[in-house]
């Protein structure tokens, strides 16, 4: 809402600083976002007086003017407007001045004649639409004076962010009420001096029929006849311009002016384009088509409320009038509408049609039904005055749902306890009165408050308590730390945040860098990765195609981060992200399974690229090492890894599981996908289920074991195995032998002989007896038993 300070002062005598006003409004919840001087772009213009006018010797349509701009010498200015005349006071742009359109005025020669400035039209100053004629000022201003001072445009405008609960502040008068309450200043209502004319009562001429009382509790109309449509006078146009509304003509401008002044949207129809003697308010029908003032035909449905004449719809109620009955330059008879519509209905129509107007904005928030007659009368009076028309006697109206006053019980104790204040009855009563409320007799420690019809936001006691806080100043209320109480028997605690924090600390501690990516990606990203169609969670109204589906896997975001970094010359990455994946699951309340996951990405050199590290790229075992470290730290379990050949975007790829729970996959991003990130090296990537790991983590509790007292015996065992024999199968056999004194088996070396026909694995077996020192021969026997078993079960030999 743009509030012009001079307009405000018509209703409340505020004479303080504009900054102070802005601050106080902000501190009562009417945030002043900006203080602007709407006509400051005209500050370099001055008033000039045309002293002499001669025809241009070389051009019929140009004049040579001598203009007094207050200096010692007059300027000579070439002017092309037909209306320029001697004795006129005009707006002059001097050499060096910049016009609103960006044009800088220079001394020039026009067809051989000097021109030392420019006499401006309203259009050039963006003060009106007239571009052909120059702007002629009242004759009372001194040549050389500032134009904006001469036009009384030295104006401040406050740009106020009005919250949706305060429709009453969407008008100058509404804001004046607030200013009056804040500063304790008297409030002056806008003047009304309506002269009705004619013998017949307009209400007998036109009948208002409301088919939908809930949609339209009040409809009223007046007739202004014999009008002349023309531009509004300057004062009105400038006010509208300052408020951000484009002036159109004296009829339409009055409707806008009253809407800005009193907050009630109005509409003017050309009476002669209305058929019959009936105005009807009724819903549209499915499939009906209607063309509003913007001349774009729109399809309607049965929920859209329309205004009809006898035969046709003439307006989208509360949203926009129809093109078919628009005021035009030939209109003389104006039917002026001032109605109240159901906010929800207006909102639905405006939203569905994408047709948001100043009018729908106010109806959606609620207009003042009791104030409507005043708005109508004041608008009719002004229209009669500016259009030289006569306001017909009487009002055509129907009010199927009259406004019923709202009474709210207010308890002082409740207010004082919620706001931590100690305000007395007198204070509260005075405060409510200043806001237009009627305060009833004392009841208990409070009283009944009848709220004004323009405050739909005050319907409950707590709303009144808020008013106390708002006007008293929330910033002045006391403050202290609360005593936080908890139930002794706490409900189950949510550990998700804490677990994810631990994971993040682990990852950062291991030298990984955390990234955060958007949760949505493009369908094409998922297609490229070969992910299935089913289960995808699509965004119904995405901002763009590359954000139209939720992440099914975390990988697209990390590949995006990789691509961005490669583009910026960062060629070594060790990234992690914890985020949720989203998959459709109709059995859940939200229809979506959200799964916390951990993604790891390694790219480029294994080590920092400086001495004493040697150069080598990260490989599968760097990635697997991280995953194994994770499992050891969070589950004290080595996990199980198995080759997986069907992964959509990883190859080679291993699946990872722990204690029977599948955790995820790790491997190399397929080449055809890697190239889309401009990656020249292998991308190693893991995507693991943190929720599953969390379950295991929560079930693991360290249990103390007595420390061993007897020494270990270590024996190495080298076996020759075919190249394709997995190490896991060797370990499995070793463990399956259930050698009670075998404490540990670790791989210490793999050797590939030159011919590469086989590999030699060296295991280090650690033996220990809990209760005594082992004898060589018993270790020999067990070592032999293991060797025999391995040879029996696997194609291995002992070189």
């Amino acid at each position: 809402m743009l509030l012009s300070l001079s307009w405000l002062r018509e209703f409340v005598p505020y004479d303080g600083q504009v900054d102070e006003l802005a601050h106080r409004l902000t501190m009562v919840g009417l945030e002043v976002e900006e203080i602007v001087r709407p006509f400051s772009h005209l500050s370099s213009l001055v008033v000039g007086r045309v002293m002499e006018k001669k025809p241009h010797p070389e051009a019929d349509n140009l004049s040579l003017c001598t203009v007094d701009v207050g200096g010692s010498e007059c300027l000579s200015i070439v002017c092309g407007a037909p209306n320029v005349a001697r004795g006129q006071h005009v707006a002059v742009a001097l050499e060096g001045a910049e016009l609103p359109g960006g044009q800088v005025i220079r001394r020039t020669r026009i067809r051989g004649e000097d021109s030392q400035g420019m006499i401006c039209s309203e259009a050039e100053l963006e003060l009106g639409q007239d571009a052909a004629w120059i702007m002629v000022l009242e004759n009372d201003s001194e040549p050389g004076a500032s134009l904006i001072r001469a036009l009384n445009l030295e104006e401040y405008v406050l740009n106020i962010g009005v919250t949706p609960n305060r429709p009453d502040c969407l008008s100058v008068f509404g804001l004046a009420r607030e200013v009056s309450a804040i500063f304790g200043l008297p409030l002056q209502k806008p003047s009304l001096n309506l002269q009705e004319d004619g013998f017949t009562d307009f209400s007998s001429e036109v009948q208002v029929v409301i088919d939908d009382p809930a949609g339209c509790p009040l409809y009223q109309a007046r007739l202004i006849s014999g009008c002349t449509v023309k531009p509004s006078p300057g004062w009105m146009r400038y006010r509208l311009l300052a408020a951000g509304v484009r002036p159109i003509n004296n009829i339409v401008d009055v409707t806008n002016y009253i809407m800005l002044e009193l907050g009630h949207p109005l509409h003017a129809f050309d009476r002669r384009l209305l058929e019959g003697a009936k105005i009807r308010v009724a819903r549209a029908e499915e499939g009906y088509r209607f063309t509003p003032l913007d001349n774009q035909e729109r399809g309607l449905n049965a929920r859209d409320l329309l205004i009809w004449d006898e035969n046709k719809p003439i307006a989208l109620a509360g949203v926009m009038g129809g093109a078919n009955t628009e005021i035009n330059n030939e209109s003389t008879e104006v039917l002026l509408e001032c109605a109240v519509f159901d906010p929800l209905s207006i909102r639905q129509t405006a939203r569905r049609l994408g047709l948001h107007s100043e009018s729908s904005f106010r109806f959606e928030r609620g207009v003042d039904q009791l104030g409507a007659p005043f708005s109508l009368d004041r608008a009719a009076q002004l229209m009669g005055e500016l259009g030289s028309g006569r306001v017909a006697r009487g009002v055509a109206r129907s009010e199927p749902r009259p406004y019923s006053p709202v009474q709210v019980m207010f308890r002082r104790s409740r207010a004082n306890s919620l706001l931590a204040l100690d305000v007395d009855r007198e204070y509260c009563s005075r405060l409510f009165s200043s806001l237009g409320c009627q305060v009833g007799e004392e009841e208990g420690d409070g009283f009944k408050v009848t709220v004004p019809s323009y405050r739909p936001d005050l319907s409950r006691e707590v709303d009144l308590i808020e008013e106390i806080g708002r006007i008293y100043g929330l910033d002045r209320t006391p403050e202290h730390l609360p005593r936080v109480q908890k139930s002794l028997h706490q409900e189950e605690q949510n550990q998700e945040y804490e677990f994810c924090s631990r994971i993040k600390a682990w990852a950062a501690g291991l030298g990984l860098q955390e990234v955060i990516n958007y949760s949505f990606v493009g369908m094409a990203d998922l297609d490229l990765l070969g992910l299935p169609q089913e289960g995808r969670v699509r965004v119904f109204n995405p901002l763009s195609e590359d954000q139209d589906v939720m992440r099914l896997h975390l990988i697209p975001g990390l590949l995006y981060a990789l691509r961005q970094n490669l583009g910026k010359g960062n060629t070594r990455l060790r990234l992690f992200e914890t985020a949720r994946s989203f998959k459709e699951d109709k059995n859940l309340e939200t229809g979506v399974r959200e799964n916390n996951r951990l993604a790891l990405l390694l790219y480029g050199s294994r080590y920092r690229m400086h001495w004493p590290y040697t150069e080598a790229d990260a490989d599968f075992y760097d990635l697997k090492g991280l995953v194994e470290h994770l499992l050891q730290v969070f589950a004290d379990d080595p996990g199980k890894f198995a080759e997986h050949n069907e992964h959509p975007y990883l190859n080679p790829c291993a699946s990872c599981s722990i204690q029977g729970r599948h955790l995820g996959f790790l491997g190399r991003v397929r080449r055809e996908i890697a190239v889309t990130c401009k990656a020249r090296k292998d991308i190693w990537f893991a995507d693991l289920d943190l929720d599953a790991l969390h379950v295991v983590f929560s079930s693991v509790q360290p249990r103390f074991q007595p420390l061993p007292r007897y020494p270990v015996v270590k024996r190495d065992m080298t076996l020759a195995a075919p190249l394709n024999l997995g190490y896991a199968s060797v370990l499995e056999i070793v463990h399956s032998a259930r050698v009670p004194i075998l404490e540990d088996a670790a791989l210490v070396d793999i050797y590939y002989p030159q011919d590469r026909q086989e590999k030699k694995l060296t295991l280090r077996l650690t033996y220990r007896h809990p209760e005594r020192t082992l004898q060589d021969r018993e270790v020999d026997a067990e070592q032999q038993r293991l060797a025999d078993l391995l040879q029996k079960k696997l194609p291995v030999g002992f070189p």
Binding site: G29, T163, P164, N165, R166, P343, S417, L418, L419, A420, V462, R470, L474, T477, P478, E479, H480, L481, P482, V484, Q485, K486, S487, E491, Q493, N494, E496, Y497, E498, K504, A505, A507, A508, L510, L512, Q513, E514, V515, I516, Y518, S519, F520, V537, R538, V539, F540, N541, L543, Q564, N565, K568, N570, L573, E589, T590, G591, V592, E594, H610, W611
Partner: protein, 355 residues
């Protein structure tokens, strides 16, 4: 048969000879050879000592003592020489020692600035006694809007541009649904904060379609505005600095009444509106204040939605934007950097610990 004098003399000369040989020795190998020759089982000292039993019993103890003294003297000379040689050889080996060369520094990881700020904020509130709760990012219309006193068609729904999944499912536009979910699951008194991702259909210089919020709420009997103000003042002073001022401006949220926006004194210009060189502060646009969060006393409608008696219970709630706090705390001037994940950005947040 040797006399005691002879033995004594040869013992004494051993020391001198040994000294001379060691002087000549330039390697541990030579020292070892000398040791074997003098102190070995068949060495010179052993040879002399083997003659002791032939001495007059009267002279034997004196000769034995002398022999032992000589032996320990020889050993001392031997060890000294060894030490000298070892020190020498070590300094030869270590000529490349240079402590200014880089060590094998393990990789240095980092937490995203958003995570750092979330953790800082959560730590502050956990310290004040709040629990941490989480909830779904795809949320029902009921939890995201309706239960928060935002029925369908409410103009306040326009305050947040919503990304929809279906007609009744949205990407949560705020973390406020956690108020409802937590109040449904638990009973008062309760105090919790809910960090998480939120989504809006908005993307420009100052908006990203995904960002992070932290919701906080406390419900008990007789909770007042003073509790809310105190909590947020404590929070602002701990997350920024103890001198920061906060300002409560009345505002509107459908799920709180009274509602307020909270500004802090601008951390860039210390609330002066102008930075040190006198130019206008761009962070607070010369106002000296920057908005950091919205808050209020929980609306009775919300309590009715979860079956709490609004006459018995009151509470407060607040919601703050994490990126906003991070921008102010670290002086980040471009919101979009948070989600570009440029290492040159992330590397600026490797320092461990919090202020």
């Amino acid at each position: 048969m040797s006399s005691a004098q002879e033995i004594n003399a040869s013992l004494k000369s051993l020391i001198q000879e040994f000294e001379e040989i060691l002087d000549q020795a330039s390697s541990l190998q030579e020292v070892e050879e000398a040791r074997v020759a003098f102190l070995g089982r068949k060495g010179r000292l052993a040879g002399i000592m083997s003659k002791l039993p032939g001495l007059d019993p009267h002279d034997r103890p004196q000769a034995g003592r002398t022999a032992n003294q000589v032996k320990s003297e020889l050993n001392r000379l031997l060890e000294d020489k060894k030490k000298v040689l070892e020190t020498k050889s070590r300094s030869v080996q270590d000529t490349g020692f240079d402590p200014s060369l880089p060590g094998r520094i393990p990789d240095v990881g980092s937490l995203h600035p958003v995570t750092r700020v979330v953790q800082d904020i959560c730590n502050i509130f956990v310290g004040l006694g709040f629990d941490i709760v989480t909830g779904p990012e795809v949320e029902t219309d009921f939890y995201n809007f309706e239960a928060l006193n935002l029925p369908p068609g409410h103009p306040a729904r326009d305050m947040q541009d919503t990304l929809y999944i279906t007609e009744s499912l949205v990407l949560r536009t705020h973390t406020s649904p956690l108020q409802i979910r937590t109040m449904e699951k638990r009973s008062p008194p309760l105090a919790a904060i809910a960090p998480g991702k939120v989504y809006r259909r908005d993307s420009d210089l100052t908006h990203t379609p995904m960002f992070h919020q932290i919701e906080g709420f406390l419900v008990d009997t007789r909770v007042s505005m003073a509790d809310l103000r105190g909590t947020l003042t404590a929070f602002a002073q701990r997350i920024f600095d103890p001198g920061v001022k906060i300002r409560f401006r009345p505002s509107f949220f459908p799920f709180t009444e009274p509602s307020a926006e909270v500004d802090i004194s601008c951390v860039m210009c210390q609330g002066r509106g102008r930075v040190h060189d006198g130019t206008a502060c761009r962070v607070c646009k010369e106002t000296g204040w920057v908005e950091v969060l919205g808050c209020g006393m929980i609306d009775p409608e919300v309590f009715l939605q979860v079956g709490y008696d609004p006459e018995e219970y009151t509470g407060f709630a607040f919601g703050l934007g994490v990126e906003r706090v991070a921008m102010l705390k670290y002086g980040i001037n471009d919101l979009r950097m948070f989600f570009e994940n440029d290492l040159k950005f992330l590397n600026q947040f490797i320092q461990a610990g919090h202020r």
